[in-house]
Symmetry: C2
Subunit: 419 residues, 2 copies
């Protein structure tokens, strides 16, 4: 079938050379030859007449409520899985512990496959169908993959997924159960990424890699659009999120900016991008002001262990737009953030999921964020995805015989040792 | 502080002897001496004036929207975590594969700690606070426990959790990360259950065990209340759910019945209760018409591996009210249900989570459910909770070197072997 092009998309503009290309299945700027730098442009004047507080009030509470701001055809069949409009929690106990005036958590682990990436994958599977592909592929450290597998299953698309050897088993199992063909590449994320791209070219698959595919970031931006609506009454001073490839923070920044452009909010929060110390090439580029230098990676936050990010330019551009900051945190700080997010917030995040929280704590310590300020932290993925890491943060159970005596003794020991 | 009693609760009535007791912290019928048989009664005439389609349309999309039908005090502070109003999906491909006219999935894995049990725990932590307890305890094969740990963390209550030795590690880790004290009891679920009750009596903890605590089932019933609203336009002929203790199906049945009583639906779907072959005491009692005989348990569906269910009377009573049925499925059928639920529905459920789906398949095979009928299956928990079992259903990844040649060879082998 032929799909009507997305009604409000006016073209794709290159970040670097400024050239605008007509809408279509395009990944790389023909002028610059660089990936991850094409940005979808919209007719905001027309959209502004349709997206208003009144019209939004009547729409479904999922990320398709922003259809005019998404690069999707009106002929596309929307997947049945409920995506987006994840809860935002105002948690005074956590704010107090961290030392800010107000702290909100947005729990992206509540998406269908338990991570933020469902926002992007849902766009990916629609674009694949629209451009006439029967198979979609991606390389991922895990969440993008499980998300693509789940969304492909939901719409009946075939999926090939390239994962690096170190991908945690729960994430690989999640792919397989959804019926994806999983290729475990003997090497790093970068090896998996390159092989996926070559495979797409050779075998005619649609490439869901959000580092290069310009449409995926549009799905990610819906988190920013939602924050604008959900926090309209008390817009936080900071929005904090973990950074791997750069596409997530880039998308969230774009969404917030669009809502300001449409007049739904009057200021955009500052962005704090947080990387793990063991995978901090974007932080280094932010600090040096130079082009990004690829690095090795070594962190428990596998979902953001990206040594050669494809979207660092987009990330830095969005962060600078908001006079934002970047910071890197240690694995120990990530584990501590996992504990306080769960114990004071009731939200269990995976390591990369709580890296934002670790960054907020460090930013407060370093007075980058002040005690009178407010922050929203995005928890990008559910802790059940990486139980192995969680075990390092969690402590241990007390094994006892099934008797009241054994119980009394165990409690007594515990209260004496404080363990 | 003193809490105003729940406004619309008129008392607690014993299922067996019919005696009604005034509202209060009561677990066991003083007349009969049996647990799990007290049922919370409401003033439905007054509630009917307040719960109407118009009033509901203005309320938040979470399970507190039914506040008049919950045994909670107006002084209670509602936990910040978003509970309930989980999505209902209409999935034609899955309906076709199973052989029914329409098939809906309600994905309870979308609750805060990724299972149905959050509905009950959210009531439990409020009751503990209302009755003046500082500590809450439960025995659980996993989900009730992780849910209690998460909800306790959210409201700042201390939690002691008794788990049997066989509880899967991801579930135990989830408890620990939320800061619960976890007591791993050397024995079965029944040993853990008994020790928890003794501990509550001895140390003055509030008991969250849904088998005995009469208020917990009221939280579970919100899934039934939601189904009535979410499916009002096309009420399914059957509602299908896995059965362990009996409290979940009992609650769902009560919720549906209440919605009929309030005039929000005009008929109650028939209930299909599904147990695992390796833990089927309630199915046996259903078939024999005799009192329940406790059994040993042996099934991968650990969340419903209950040999001595406390709520079997409530389960059977509710099933009979709807002219419902019960059925038992093998572990193989559960693994197959896990695959089709994920591959055709895009929903990854744990073994007990998809036991309902396995039961639906078997019921269609046995012509208990006919091809012209419609069904809603409740997926009670997220598959990430038990990756070990999922691996048995999932198949394996293909390990390859990071070269296009290796990829081409792997795909070729795969297409030849059909693997």
């Amino acid at each position: 079938m032929t799909y009507t092009p997305p009604r409000f998309v006016t073209g794709l503009t290159c970040f670097i050379c400024g050239t605008t290309y007509p809408y279509g299945n395009i990944f790389t700027c023909p002028e610059c030859g660089i990936d991850g730098i094409l940005d979808v442009q919209y007719d905001y004047d027309s959209i502004g007449k349709r997206i208003t507080p009144n019209s939004l009030a009547l729409r479904g509470l999922n990320h398709w409520r922003y259809e005019e701001l998404l690069p999707i055809s009106s002929d596309s069949v929307i997947p049945h899985l409920h995506i987006g409009w994840t809860p935002v929690y105002d948690i005074p106990r956590l704010a107090k512990a961290v030392g800010v005036q107000k702290l909100f958590l947005k729990d992206e682990g509540r998406n269908p496959t338990s991570s933020f990436k469902d926002r992007a994958s849902s766009i990916g599977v629609l674009k694949a169908a629209e451009f006439g592909f029967e198979t979609i592929a991606c390389a991922s450290t895990g969440n993008a993959a499980s998300s693509l597998a789940g969304l492909s299953a939901a719409v009946g698309l075939k999926s090939y997924i390239f994962v690096p050897e170190r991908a945690p088993e729960p994430k690989v199992t999640q792919l397989l159960i959804f019926g994806a063909t999983v290729l475990k590449v003997q090497g790093t994320y970068e090896n998996a990424f390159d092989l996926c791209r070559e495979g797409c070219e050779k075998f005619g698959w649609y490439n869901r890699n959000s580092g290069t595919n310009p449409f995926l970031v549009e799905g990610k931006k819906t988190a920013g659009l939602e924050i604008a609506e959900q926090c309209a009454a008390a817009m936080p001073d900071w929005v904090v999120v973990s950074v791997g490839d750069g596409c997530t923070i880039g998308g969230i920044g774009k969404g917030l900016q669009e809502m300001k452009m449409l007049g739904l909010i009057d200021r955009v929060p500052r962005l704090l991008g947080v990387q793990a110390e063991g995978a901090r090439p974007i932080v280094d580029a932010f600090v040096s002001g130079q082009d990004l230098v690829p690095t090795d990676t070594n962190t428990i936050a596998d979902s953001i262990a990206v040594g050669t990010p494809r979207n660092w330019r987009r990330a830095l551009w969005q962060i600078e737009q908001t006079h934002g900051e970047m910071i890197a945190v240690s694995d120990e700080q990530i584990l501590e953030a996992m504990r306080i997010t769960a114990r004071l917030g009731g939200v269990f995040g995976e390591p990369a999921g709580v890296t934002g929280m670790a960054g907020l704590q460090l930013a407060v310590e370093r007075k980058i964020i002040r005690s009178h300020e407010t922050a929203l932290v995005i928890v990008t993925g559910n802790g059940l995805k990486d139980i192995h890491s969680a075990k390092q943060a969690a402590g241990t159970a007390i094994s006892i015989a099934p008797t009241l005596d054994a119980l009394a003794k165990a409690l007594d020991t515990r209260s004496k040792t404080g363990a």
